[in-house]
């Protein structure tokens, strides 16, 4: 992974000093609340329901074991012993004291970490494929490009005060695992007919209050020009994006109101002045960054480990885990392992300091000292030998990180919701836990198969409910918490927004509602047909009919 040099390190150290002074001036009354707010937000610091919340950047989801141990230490020393991995591939701490934040940032800087631009109206953490570099369907490794973009966007002086937040995702594989169609800029690495690397550029996607799928504005921007092209997009947005209404301030609104073709023309006109300028990338720079992402020292192994195969036959629980949580690796004899944070007793994405220490140890022993955070809020050990899978599984099971449920109904994405977040209209975590508790039969879960449930506590959509096969949105009606259900959303290559099935439900009805939806699927599915494909084939009508018609008389449904 990328290692800081003296320049990277100096920048994060200077940030610590800057923020320490800003916090000192705020506490001394020299900076007003309104003045301090954007400054702290650009440092990932929110003032939340119970305490400040600090969001630490995990660039494109990559972490070293040393970094994870530091996060465990911070959870233990400055927080309540746990952290929360987010859909932005970052980690949040829910209970730090404001006065300690400069010290936490100083500790993070010792392991090449920071909280820069994890919030605020600036270019946020660049996200990417959690299986980058190891997936078999990858054509171009997105990590060096994500790092080049990270450096370009860090403290960019022109774009620190945009109309709204700005999110960029990069994909380099056949299957898009970075949800690029739901980002302000989605970058798809491609090769042209001469074999040159470049980017297909999507713009104006995003979830939130007004969910929109991104539009392609360029089929091929050669790699040398990607920074100047992004600069042109950002400049058009910074100048012409709406600032009168924060709900209409995202670039998607500008693209929609201008039309993608007209927007693309504006970008081209701006780009004409920037193209071939100093920010044009050089081969030397790309090679320098790419050198940080070369393959580790893989052993030459047979494609299938004999011992692993035998254990799969002998141990049903291990086989169930391997089936869901282990993926094929591009190298023979290796595997990609997803450690599940999803369990009916914990919030999706939460990990304790002890669990983080365990994962760091496994990363060192089994996966070249690295791991990844997924936008589904799980952790990935990307380079595990098949022969190590059984011992890793046994240890992960003891640590509560081996739920065999990746991609299954209980692998729920959920934002922190009303338990933690000031913005939320409703709770998310108890809904996720109640659904997980209802579907606790493993055989049934595996029989239901691939399905994604995404829960957001408000329409800011941190739980990405629009793109969940089943989407759950917490809404407030006259001071009470209700839940609106949508079906048919999906992420990936065919990203689609779900359709709301009807009036919202009370919290206690949500497990029943999901159960009715699943029963409808079981009744209607063709053999081997995935849930989302059944929904696509039939539409929402049969699901809606079952959910509302079969409701018990006492079930509460809110109008509208």
């Amino acid at each position: 992974m990328y290692q800081y040099d003296e320049y990277d390190q100096r920048l994060v150290d200077e940030r610590v000093a800057q923020f320490r002074d800003q916090t000192r001036r705020y506490l001394a009354g020299e900076l007003s609340e309104d003045e301090y707010r954007p400054l702290r937000l650009q440092n990932g610091l929110y003032i939340q329901r119970h305490a400040p919340m600090l969001r630490v950047a995990v660039p494109y989801g990559l972490l070293s074991s040393a970094q994870l141990r530091k996060l465990a230490h911070i959870a233990r020393t400055y927080d309540r012993g746990y952290g929360h991995f987010t859909t932005r591939q970052n980690i949040q701490f829910n209970w730090p004291a404001l006065k300690n934040v400069p010290e936490i940032l100083a500790e993070l800087a010792t392991v090449e970490m920071h909280a820069i631009q994890t919030s605020g109206n600036c270019i946020r953490n660049i996200t990417s494929d959690p299986f980058a570099g190891v997936a078999g369907d990858e054509s171009i490794d997105p990590r060096p490009w994500a790092e080049v973009l990270r450096q370009w966007s860090t403290f960019h002086p022109e774009f620190a005060f945009l109309p709204r937040k700005f999110k960029i995702a990069v994909n380099g594989a056949e299957h898009d695992r970075a949800v690029i169609q739901a980002h302000d800029i989605g970058l798809d690495l491609v090769r042209n007919e001469t074999g040159e690397t470049g980017f297909r550029v999507l713009v104006g996607g995003g979830l939130g209050r007004t969910p929109i799928i991104g539009e392609e504005i360029a089929t091929f921007v050669p790699w040398r020009h990607i920074l100047t092209y992004c600069e042109a997009i950002l400049r058009v947005y910074n100048r012409f994006g709406r600032r009168d209404n924060m709900y209409k301030a995202r670039i998607k609104i500008l693209v929609k109101s201008m039309g993608p073709a007209a927007f693309a023309e504006q970008v081209e006109a701006e780009w004409a002045h920037l193209k071939d300028g100093p920010s044009t990338l050089t081969e030397a720079e790309v090679a320098r960054v790419a050198a940080h992402f070369v393959d580790p020292n893989y052993e030459d192994l047979p494609a299938e480990d004999v011992g692993y195969k035998a254990l799969l036959r002998e141990n049903k629980a291990f086989a169930a885990w391997a089936k869901r949580n282990v993926r094929a690796h591009k190298r023979p004899g290796y595997a990609i392992v997803t450690l599940s944070t999803k369990h009916k007793d914990v919030a999706p994405g939460d990990a304790t300091a002890e669990q983080m220490d365990h994962v760091a140890d496994w990363a060192d022993r089994y996966s070249f000292g690295e791991l990844r955070v997924t936008h589904e809020q799980n952790l990935v050990l990307a380079d595990v030998k098949q022969s190590d899978l059984f011992s890793l599984w046994a240890e992960a099971r003891d640590a509560g990180l081996a739920s065999p449920n990746i991609g299954l109904l209980t692998d729920i994405i959920a934002c922190p919701g009303g338990d933690f977040c000031n913005l939320a209209n409703a709770k998310s975590i108890p809904i996720a836990n109640a659904i997980q508790a209802r579907f606790d039969d493993l055989d049934y879960l595996h029989d239901i198969g691939d399905i994604e449930i995404n829960i957001s506590g408000c329409m800011n959509a941190c739980g990405h409910h629009h793109v969940g096969h089943i989407g759950v949105l917490g809404v407030d009606k006259n001071g009470a918490e209700w839940y609106q259900v949508s079906l048919g959303g999906r992420q990936g290559n065919d990203t689609a927004l779900g359709k709301v099935i009807g009036p919202s439900f009370s919290a206690e009805d949500m497990p029943d509602v999901v159960e009715r939806i699943i029963e409808t699927y079981i009744d209607e599915r063709f053999e081997d047909e995935r849930f989302i494909d059944t929904v696509s084939r039939l539409g929402i009508a049969p699901f809606k009919a079952r959910v509302y018609a079969e409701r018990e008389p006492q079930r509460k449904v809110a109008n509208g």
Partner: protein, 172 residues
């Protein structure tokens, strides 16, 4: 007298910043006797009447292309920040310096805070004028340190014309 920071030094300012209140017409509003920074509408309609040394200030939604042909006649251009979190002025300054080649004084006015000095100066502002009364003279002096919050930025800007990957030999 109002204070500003010009080329990293606290100085007295002789300019009057003219704003149009509701009901004021650019054609009839009274102008000061000394040098003034006036809104684009006044500058367009009355620049022959303006006192010697006067300049124009742009609002966030105004296009620097509108004054691109007159830059040599302008000793100073202001860019107004109605709120410090309104970042349009950074792009306006970048365009004035890099696209249109403006070399006179470029002054940030309005809601200007020391926490933006580093970014503002990198986008080409050489004069920064926080709202009157926002900082004491001692605080303004102390604020000069903020220019150097970051010594070696990654990206190119008006003040640093090459990105780090062209300025420095970075080890792989």
């Amino acid at each position: 007298m109002a204070k500003l920071i010009r080329n990293r030094r606290v100085e007295d300012d002789v300019y009057t910043i003219v704003t149009l209140s509701e009901g004021d017409a650019p054609e009839t509003v009274s102008l000061p006797a000394g040098p003034a920074l006036v809104p684009l509408a006044i500058w367009k309609s009355r620049h022959d009447e303006l006192p010697e040394g006067s300049g124009v200030w742009l609002a966030g939604d105004e296009d620097p292309a509108d004054i691109a042909d007159n830059l040599t006649a302008l000793p100073v251009i202001g860019v107004n920040f109605p709120k410090f979190a309104d970042g349009r002025g950074y792009s306006i300054a970048t365009l004035l310096r890099s696209r249109y080649g403006y070399t006179g004084e470029l002054r940030a006015i309005g809601d200007v805070l020391r926490d933006q000095f580093n970014y503002l100066s990198r986008c080409g502002f050489d004069a920064l004028q926080p709202a009157e009364g926002r900082y004491s003279e001692a605080q303004l002096e102390a604020a000069i340190a903020s220019f150097d919050d970051f010594a070696e930025p990654y990206q190119a800007s008006v003040a640093v014309s090459n990105p780090l990957f062209r300025r420095a030999q970075r080890a792989a």
